[in-house]
C-alpha cells in the first residue's frame, strides 16, 4: 500500500492504494468520481480522458501516483455553480451525445483542442478526436458541438 495525495477538481484527497493503482481506478473507486469511464483495456477508446495539468490524458494509462502534485480535472469539475461549461452546453445544444458513455472523455479531449486551437476546423476536430471512440453518434454532431463549444469558449464564457 502507498499513500498518495491527489488534487482533483481543486480538492485535495489522500488515499491509500497499491502502487499499481491507475489514475482512473483512484478516481472511480477511491474518490467515487464515476463520470470518468472505462471502455477498453488497451488505451484506445478515450472514455477515461481527464485533464492533468491542463492536458488531456487517458486515466487508464497513468499511475495514480504519477498524478501526485498535479492538478487533475475530471468531467465533474467543469460546471461552475450548476452552470454547464460552454463545451458541455454545446454538446447538449447540438445533440453531441446519445448514451453518454463516451461523452465525458470527448468533452475533456475537446477542451484540450480548443485551448490550443481556438477556432478548429472540422478536419482538425475529426483528427484531434482520434483518441476517442463513440459508437452512437457517428461523430457528426460531436464535431458540430466541438465547433460550437470552441466558439463559446472564445467568447470568454
Amino acid at each position: 500500500m502507498a499513500t498518495i495525495t491527489l488534487t482533483v477538481n481543486q480538492q485535495t484527497h489522500t488515499i491509500d492504494c497499491p502502487p499499481t493503482t491507475l489514475l482512473v481506478e483512484a478516481l472511480r473507486e477511491h474518490l467515487r468520481l464515476t463520470g470518468t469511464h472505462v471502455g477498453c483495456d488497451t488505451s484506445q477508446c478515450g472514455a477515461c480522458t481527464v485533464e492533468v495539468d491542463g492536458k488531456s490524458v487517458k486515466a487508464c494509462t497513468m499511475l495514480a501516483a504519477e498524478a501526485e502534485g498535479a492538478q487533475v480535472t475530471t468531467i465533474e469539475g467543469l460546471a461552475k455553480g450548476g452552470e454547464l461549461h460552454p463545451m458541455q452546453a454545446a454538446f447538449r445544444e447540438h445533440h453531441g451525445l446519445q448514451c453518454g458513455f463516451c461523452t465525458p472523455g470527448m468533452i475533456m479531449s475537446a477542451n484540450d483542442l480548443c485551448r490550443r486551437v481556438p477556432e478548429p476546423s472540422e478536419h482538425e476536430i475529426r483528427h484531434w478526436l482520434e483518441g476517442n471512440l463513440c459508437r452512437c453518434t457517428g461523430y457528426h454532431n460531436i464535431v458540430k458541438a466541438v465547433r460550437a463549444g470552441a466558439t463559446a469558449m472564445r467568447g470568454g464564457k
Binding site: K55, S56, K58, T61
Partner: protein
C-alpha cells in the same frame, strides 16, 4: 497488473542507482507503451522507477548543426517545439502523428526509443537522420541502437537522457497507419543529410531498418521516379491480418515515393 514498487527519484543519478540495485526494475517515463504492457501482464517488473520528477530531461535545444531533445520531452512537446519545427520540420510532423493527442501528451521520446516497438514512429527518424542516443553513460549511434524486436543496445540499467538529431538538408516522413492501433503499418523517413541520403523504414519488419537500394537511387537523383521499380524483399517483412508482407513491401515503395515528393 502484477504488484510492483514505485519509486519517484528527483535526480537522474538516483534513478539509475535504483534500477542498478534492483534486477527486476524498469524505468517508467510517460508510460504509454509500458502501462499497456503491464496491464496485459506481458511484463512483471519488481520495481518501476518513475522519471517524472526529472524536468532537466525535458529540454529541447537547437544548437549548431543539431537539435537535442531530452528523453522526457513528450511527443506533443516535440510536435509543437519551434526549434524542432524550424530545424527538422519532418520530425515535428512525425511526433504530431504518433498515436492520438492523449498519448502524445504523456508519451516521451526516450520512452519510445527505449521500448523499441517495431511499429513506433521515432525509430525511423533516429535512423534516417543519423541521430545519436545519449545515455547516462555514453552515446550510441542510431545505426547501432536498435538491435531487434523490442531490443536495443541499452544496458539493463542504462538510462536514455536525450537524443541528438543532426539537422538534415531536408527530410520527410510518409506514414501508413494501422487503422485500429494507429501505429505505423509502414513508416518511411527519407532524409537528405550531411552524410548522404538515408532512408529508414519502421513498422514493416521486426525492427527499424535502412534501405540501401533506395538510398543509392535517391543519391543519384532525388526524385520520386528514382524509386520506380525498386522494392524491398517481402520475405524479410512482417505479415499479419492487417497487412501481408507483400502489401507492406508495396507500401514501403509508395510511402518512400510520397516522402520524396514531400521533400520538394
Amino acid at each position: 497488473m502484477k504488484p510492483f514498487e514505485l519509486h519517484r527519484p528527483s535526480t537522474a543519478q538516483e534513478a539509475v542507482g535504483l534500477v542498478t540495485a534492483r534486477d527486476g526494475a524498469k524505468y517508467l517515463a510517460g508510460g504509454q507503451s509500458l502501462l499497456p504492457v503491464l496491464k496485459l501482464e506481458l511484463a512483471e517488473p519488481s520495481d518501476l522507477v518513475s522519471l517524472a520528477r526529472l524536468p532537466e530531461l525535458r529540454k529541447i535545444t537547437a544548437a549548431g548543426d543539431a537539435v537535442t531533445i531530452g528523453a522526457l520531452a513528450t511527443h506533443d512537446e516535440v510536435s509543437r517545439s519551434e526549434d524542432v519545427a524550424r530545424a527538422i520540420p519532418a520530425l515535428a510532423k512525425l511526433a504530431g502523428a504518433i498515436g492520438d493527442p492523449q498519448v502524445r501528451n504523456r508519451g516521451t521520446l526516450g520512452g519510445s526509443v527505449a521500448h523499441a516497438d517495431p511499429a513506433a514512429d521515432y525509430p525511423a527518424a533516429l535512423l534516417a537522420l543519423g541521430a545519436t542516443v545519449v545515455t547516462d553513460r555514453r552515446e550510441i549511434a542510431a545505426d547501432a541502437f536498435f538491435t531487434g524486436l523490442f531490443e536495443t543496445a541499452l544496458g539493463r540499467d542504462e538510462l536514455v537522457t536525450a537524443v541528438r538529431f543532426p539537422i538534415p538538408k531536408r527530410a520527410a516522413y510518409g506514414k501508413f497507419a494501422h487503422r485500429a492501433s494507429k501505429y505505423a503499418l509502414v513508416g518511411v523517413m527519407v532524409a537528405d543529410t550531411a552524410g548522404g541520403v538515408r532512408v529508414a523504414v519502421t513498422g514493416a519488419g521486426p525492427k527499424v531498418f535502412r534501405v540501401p537500394a533506395f538510398e543509392a537511387a535517391l543519391t543519384a537523383r532525388m526524385d520520386p521516379s528514382a524509386l520506380d521499380g525498386l522494392t524491398v524483399p517481402a520475405a524479410d517483412l512482417n505479415s499479419d491480418a492487417e497487412a501481408s508482407a507483400e502489401y507492406r513491401a508495396h507500401l514501403i515503395s509508395v510511402m518512400a515515393r510520397r516522402a520524396v515528393q514531400a521533400l520538394a
